[in-house]
Amino acid sequence: MSTATDTKAAPEETASEEIAPRAEEQEVVPAIDENLQARIGLMITPAFFLLLLIGLVYAWTTTEFDPTTARILGFEGLVDKFGEHLFITFWSTVFVVGIAIPLGIALTRPRLRGIAPLVVTFASSGQAIPAYGLIVLFLVLLGQGTRTAIAALTVFALIPVLRNTMVGLDQVDKPTIEAARGMGLSKWQVLRQIELPLAVPVILAGVRTALIINVGMAALVFLIGGGALGETINSALKLNRPVAVFIGGALVALLALAIDFIAALAERYLRPKGI
């Protein structure tokens, strides 16, 4: 997974309705409500999940495993790799959230706003670095292991959350903030009670993107001794066991789909009501 995954996070901008929407005098245009859009989104992912699952089960049950394949796909090994994958994904996402959201808040405060474009430009240009290269360079810098893996993923997935935090806070209606200040809320209270809650949907979209990037990148950390499900794929590739390759790939894809689906649900239900 690389740079532009975070295009997912960009809030869909709707066309400005310049023609007066006089309902009764408008040609009935095929409009779509956001709810339907979300429902379609939530239906497609399970459909792909099922399709892949069927493929996986089919491959698993209809093939006679030779000893090598059986070893690669050994149950305990798979559970371990699965656990490593989740572990790396989870902690890298936690670090991303822990670093990017406070940084995004800081960079939208008046005192630091001046340097914000600089930081964003610098960070975005870092995204041009291919994920594969970045992971391996982290190995060169920090040595083998899970920690290096988590560090690499954290750095790589920082941008979507940082950018969405800043966008989310910036787009909060200025009069609303003005009104809150006028009622006597302190800057800190305005941030906690007004700005952050209103920015939540956009920030969540960024977190979801980061999560997806991390699931995908975690499949590459076997390259630097980080284990995880990518190792299953790699072993199968090296030992030339196509069925195991397919099953390994399907497992990673299923995991990503499941996490994305849960994230989509969370995105839907965690946003404050009324927005």
């Binding site: 007066a20 006089r22 009764e24 005098e25 040609e27 009935v28």
Partner: protein
Amino acid sequence: MTDALIHLENVSKTYPGTSVPAVAELDLRIPKGDVLVLVGPSGCGKSTTLRLINRMIEPTGGRIIFDGEDVTEVNADNLRRRMGYVIQQIGLFPHRTIAENISTVPNLLGWKSDRISSRIDELLDMVGMDPSIYRNRYPKELSGGQAQRVGVARALSADPEVMLMDEPFGAIDPITRDRLQNEFLRLQEELQKTIVFVTHDIDEAIKMGDRIAILRQQSQIAQYDTPEAILAQPANDFVSDFLGKGAIIKGLNLKRMSDIEPDRIPAVRQDASPDEARRALDESSDGRILVLDEQDRPLRWIDRSAVEGDQPLANSGYEVTAVVEPDDTLRDSLELMLQSTASSACCIDDDGRYRGVVRIEDLTRFLAAMQQAERERRAESDYEPEQVTLS
């Protein structure tokens, strides 16, 4: 009204998924060469009605007759190329130059390029924009008023018989709107197009319309008549409510300064001798005279006190503030008179030269005469206002 160019014959429009029609059984004749204004409160279906004419909205019932031909089923694109269409938001193509915008329909119709080119110049001249400056500009470089001029020019490009205009001046500031309305009326005098004009503003309707159709819900015609007749005798409560207070004042929108004969109060050039000024003052019925500049443009009012001293005429008296052009309506001039201290306005001709002076009393007298005439016309023709049953 046998010379209707367009006839909407019991036309209806019901949107899918709704049971109440937006336009119900509308029968409307649009006379050739006139400006017909459709006016009514928002939601009455006036825009829908306009859009039914060029089938931007397809009717669900009835027939559209255009120039004797049933066009309800013909190719809508071809039909639209025969009708100019101007909307409030203008909708110039931002990626095309002014010239390219105007040439859109002629291109579709396969005109030769030199014919198109000369047509562009002609149209830009017509709407008062210098072709050598504006031809190759882009829409983003125009002001709102200029953009709408181009919009009108583009709609006129293939010389359509019919112009459909949906609140064309609605989004333009009041001063520019006034000027555009006047220019438009002057243009129409020359072109004699059949125009259907939608507005929600009754003042604009009175000013622009040869005929007005006042519409109520579902495009039912509450009254369809000349502006004079509607003002003098509203057909029902709906119309009187819609006209609101001050129907007489609204009547002032009907006439222009060029319709009125101003009082020729004597005037002298600013370099005139005190004797000349005194002689002019003797002739004046008003006790005042006007001082004009070399081009005969009115400068100042002076009275007898001004010629007693030795001051130059150009510095004495007080400045002329209310100046009305021939295209200004009586309403415009009333407004100016009320603002100025003189309760009178100087009329000028198209070149800015002094024509005479009108006073507030002249306007009221003029109005009374107009209403009297309308009443007499009705009495003679034994006219009965069309009774529209209001369900």
